[in-house]
Symmetry: C2
Subunit: 332 residues, 2 copies
Amino acid sequence: MADVNRQVLLVEKPAGKLGPEHFKMSQGAMPVPQDGEVLLRTLYISLDAANRAWMHGATYRSALDFGGVMAGGGVAEVVESKSPDFKPGDLAFGDTGWQDYAAVKGKHLTKLPRVPQLTNLLSVYGIAGLTAYFGFLDIGQPKEGETVVVSAAAGSVGSIVGQIGKIKGCRVIGIAGGKEKCEWLTSELGFDAAVDYKGESVFKALKAAAPKGIDVYFDNVGGTILEACLAQMNIGGRIACCGAISQYDGVPDAAGPRGVPGLIVVKRLRMQGFIVTDYFKDQARALKDLQAWVAAGKLKVEEDVIDGLENTPQALIGLLAGENRGKRMVKV
Amino acid sequence: MADVNRQVLLVEKPAGKLGPEHFKMSQGAMPVPQDGEVLLRTLYISLDAANRAWMHGATYRSALDFGGVMAGGGVAEVVESKSPDFKPGDLAFGDTGWQDYAAVKGKHLTKLPRVPQLTNLLSVYGIAGLTAYFGFLDIGQPKEGETVVVSAAAGSVGSIVGQIGKIKGCRVIGIAGGKEKCEWLTSELGFDAAVDYKGESVFKALKAAAPKGIDVYFDNVGGTILEACLAQMNIGGRIACCGAISQYDGVPDAAGPRGVPGLIVVKRLRMQGFIVTDYFKDQARALKDLQAWVAAGKLKVEEDVIDGLENTPQALIGLLAGENRGKRMVKV
């Protein structure tokens, strides 16, 4: 066991776009677990748009500690345990932060099974798959034959949402940035159509791709794309609010989308937010379905694994720019 | 039976604020009911902020016919029937329009009981009471001890929502315009607090009146008041979207409230719209509760009855300016 704990520090709150200058590599002391805590060795760090949202202040987690280790979830192995719930060698998901080692309270960790492919614990069987599953099915409540739209469709969550939509018999339209991603959605993942928000008017392209209107919109981005979808929702439509990437990397818009609340009333829409951690207690149901779909070849798993803790800042910066396809993570 | 049918025509689409110049009194021929239709004599016309919203174009009803009779719901008596479901002397609720007589399809009418006080069929036992009941209880799902905020609280729907909130054991805060209305809410209707949006900062006054945050917000107004409430919602809060009065009389805001969808995600909020007519099939349950609460003295009924069809335009213009307390209607 190394006695050095490499860490990525978040040195200051970014005023505009996130850049490498906001991070610094450092070395900390090896953490010593207290009663109830577990010493973890980080294996894979999950990269999520939410990491950037946290920098704006308190969200569903407390505000970040600027100058300290950057927060983030990861898959880790238990090195030493002072919690009755864990023993050395166990795998766990938790907020390790961007560092080699972390001491975390056992009650804040989720125990993970030793699957053949550990990266799947962050993608399809982890935060991405569970977010897609619960947000789309429990909040979106799609019915066979309905039209589903998902934004950030080539991302970790969106790519799974769209495929579950096809499994459930829906017409699925993905919104993504760039022709290449759009082609991938339709040719590889079975989406019925894809809209390139960088190359065409989202409003018009959706009109053409969803001539019967939208029944479920899974929103990862907020902003003008949400506005375009709101205007085309059908009566009784559902909007699952998963994230607002368009608002995270810089100064958020001074106002929200037009149509709130007017269209919500007229069309009897339901807009509902959720956080995947609220559903962790219920994950057995999701994992059973997700595993069956993967085994049957109905759900393709796309992962984007970057090597080396020192590359974590650039991996997040690139994710915010839409570089990734599928679940991005860093192998520590 | 008179052979003259007085009518209020909507002569053009208002570009800004609604004024008397947008209406014209006229006389039409007595309508002749066709097969399946009923000839109605209008008794009371319901005035609702939604009347103004319809002028913007298609909503949950088709666009208005400018130059034609102004649309509007009312309580009417059946004069002649070519529908198997109605006979002369029956009372019905339907879209009579602003006129003495109308021929309406029987299937578009709701039969009404002959209660002692016919005005109650538009207030507590009609569109206002049912809107408050279903929107607050079914969409808002208040729990005992929670904090409820309702806007346009001195209006027909808001005044009932707040009183149901007290019946359900909630802390209830009303938002209304002017000191007099606010005092009426707390002293007469039992609200715990009232915020005068014309006289104080809604955001700050809510902070003081709802120190534990807001669990249910019943939104009649949209705009900046919705924005102030969104910012103070608790995790898991519900927003029942009933209307957007602030957006109806003039040019709607170019953008929506800040916090959509960011706060909806972070706080796992549910924002949901509804239209009372969707619940008409289920009204027996509501009427039973509403009647029991009125009988027990727990629910006070406030009505604002204006006399004369010719005064209907001014009655609507005044309602949009916040003149009324309780349910406004015109006795034809």
